[in-house]
Symmetry: C2
Subunit: 323 residues, 2 copies
């Protein structure tokens, strides 16, 4: 009898799922049929846990969150995200494209520790001419797609993903460094003088404003001109054509527009697509994609991760934990 079988018999909490990213921990206690019973979140992401050496801090952080969740002792735990990276708790090797989303759980590795703790794999596109990787997004994709889903999904963020899925199988994806470029340009380049950012400049929280839309249109019209458009943003202010207050929105528009131009060109023509988004950034992408005539279905990013983890957990333990 495994600890999972032992603890979950008759208990309301059948398993715990965790979205363990670079800088955040989000855990949920779930019933056997995937209903959320409790939630625990914190800033103890991978970077926090590896502070004292490789993998050292993951087990205690998980223990604390399990206690906060009121999880039964020995409850099985399924994790996705950067905890499974080479520099994380333990490496969950990438599955290679093309790969079925509903087979994700088969690639999970088991942590060498008491109890049943597993980490879902990331996905790699091991093609020398278009190498790419994801870790965490595959679980969100599992959460928001039906087993036979065919279509394009965008997951905006620090490293935006565009994923082509055919009949439930990831066939191709591309990562755009949009969010990270926004941060490093806003904080460390000459454009820092052209932006009014809130403190650390790390979030492209421009509203769907006129300068955002202008930057977007400019980049969609001339996507190869990004590195010149960036300097023009500064020059426009020096010459009095634009105010500093508009700089952040324009930069955001330029970067998102460059991403959209390439991704839509590669995957188009399209009528509809899905967006896994959150907050202001998700709304910006939604507006930008709608502006391109696309019918966009948006799903909340956190909900997508929780649903994907629950699906995978049920695939792994569903039969055992259901009394």
């Amino acid at each position: 009898m495994t600890p999972a079988e032992n603890s979950s018999r008759g208990a309301p909490g059948a398993f715990v799922v965790v979205d363990w990213g670079t800088s955040s921990f989000r855990g949920w206690l779930m019933s056997a049929d995937g209903e959320t019973l409790a939630e625990s979140r914190g800033g103890e992401g991978m970077l926090h846990c590896t502070g004292g050496g490789a993998g050292a801090g993951f087990a205690p952080v998980l223990r604390d969150h399990l206690a906060r969740l009121g999880a039964p002792e020995g409850v099985p735990v399924l994790i996705c995200g950067m905890a499974g990276a080479r520099q994380g708790w333990a490496e969950a090797p990438y599955l290679k494209t093309p790969t079925r989303l509903d087979a994700l759980h088969e690639g999970a590795i088991r942590i060498d520790a008491p109890g049943d703790i597993r980490i879902l794999p990331g996905i790699a596109q091991a093609r020398p001419e278009r190498p790419d990787v994801m870790r965490g997004e595959e679980t969100q994709l599992l959460g928001v797609t039906e087993p036979d889903f065919t279509g394009l999904v965008c997951i905006p963020g620090t490293h935006s993903k565009w994923v082509r899925i055919e009949a439930g199988c990831i066939v191709e994806f591309s990562t755009y460094m949009t969010g990270e470029l926004y941060s490093v340009i806003a904080q460390h380049s000459i454009l820092a003088h052209a932006l009014e950012t809130a403190g650390n400049g790390t979030s492209p929280l421009a509203a769907d404003s006129q300068p955002f839309r202008e930057g977007l249109s400019m980049a969609l019209a001339e996507p190869a001109a990004l590195t010149a458009s960036l300097f023009r943003l500064r020059a426009a202010q020096l010459l009095g054509f634009e105010q500093r207050a508009d700089g952040a929105a324009r930069l955001s528009g330029l970067l998102i527009g460059t991403e959209l131009a390439d991704a839509l060109h590669r995957h188009g023509p399209l009528r509809s697509m899905r967006l896994i988004g959150a907050g202001a950034l998700g709304r910006l992408y939604e507006a930008a994609l709608a502006g391109q005539g696309l019918d966009v279905t948006t799903v909340d990013a956190e909900q997508a991760a929780r649903l994907g983890l629950a699906k995978a957990a049920i695939s792994l333990w569903g039969a055992k934990v259901t009394i």
Copy 2:
């Protein structure tokens, strides 16, 4: 009688010219016919001089360099570069395109100080849809072009300039943030893990190597995909397709290729062009442009600045200082 006329009569040093950039000072004592008699250089650029408040440090720095040059007392001085920026010694307002290069000296401002010290203007493209500015490069352009020159000139650097000149007149130009993007990406983004850089990562000193050429070709083929190509550079290493030692050259190739693709598309088709370059970066551009089938004439950047300053100084003072 001005101090210039007073001091230069019969003296070998007829005027001093200075290329005063953001982080460097390069001054030359010249004869009335533009022959270089002495040189003095240092790190006292604009940033050094404005350390104690706007404009405070420029006069003493110039005085020291004039002494080192053995310049006659009251010698006229002509300056180009960031010393003439709004945040510099005194603002030399931009001339607007289209503007003749041989009329640059007419836009020089005179410093309110003893002697005859003037600063050449920068040039602005005051078009709302393509705003752009240069300060310093216009003087290099004057140095390397004949009065009736027609053609395209590239000046690679932190902010690369591509300048269209017709019959000695600057008609259009574009600035690409290539060098600065290299620095901020190499130092502050996730790609810092993918590069072996020498310390501060500020110079794209990749040799004309295989990974440089691959990055270049990739960007020339897909110039709109830059923000995805950057992430692929990281993914290629994670998946074992590329070594960390090749990262810097590939990044350099991607950024320079993106610049070339846009600039050559905008100005092409071309058979020949001029390049104002220096050192390893100049050689990279030379190789990249030659690879595109262009006949490139390269002129050293420092020589270009000195020649341009000398031409402008002779236009200003030539008649007076020649006995």
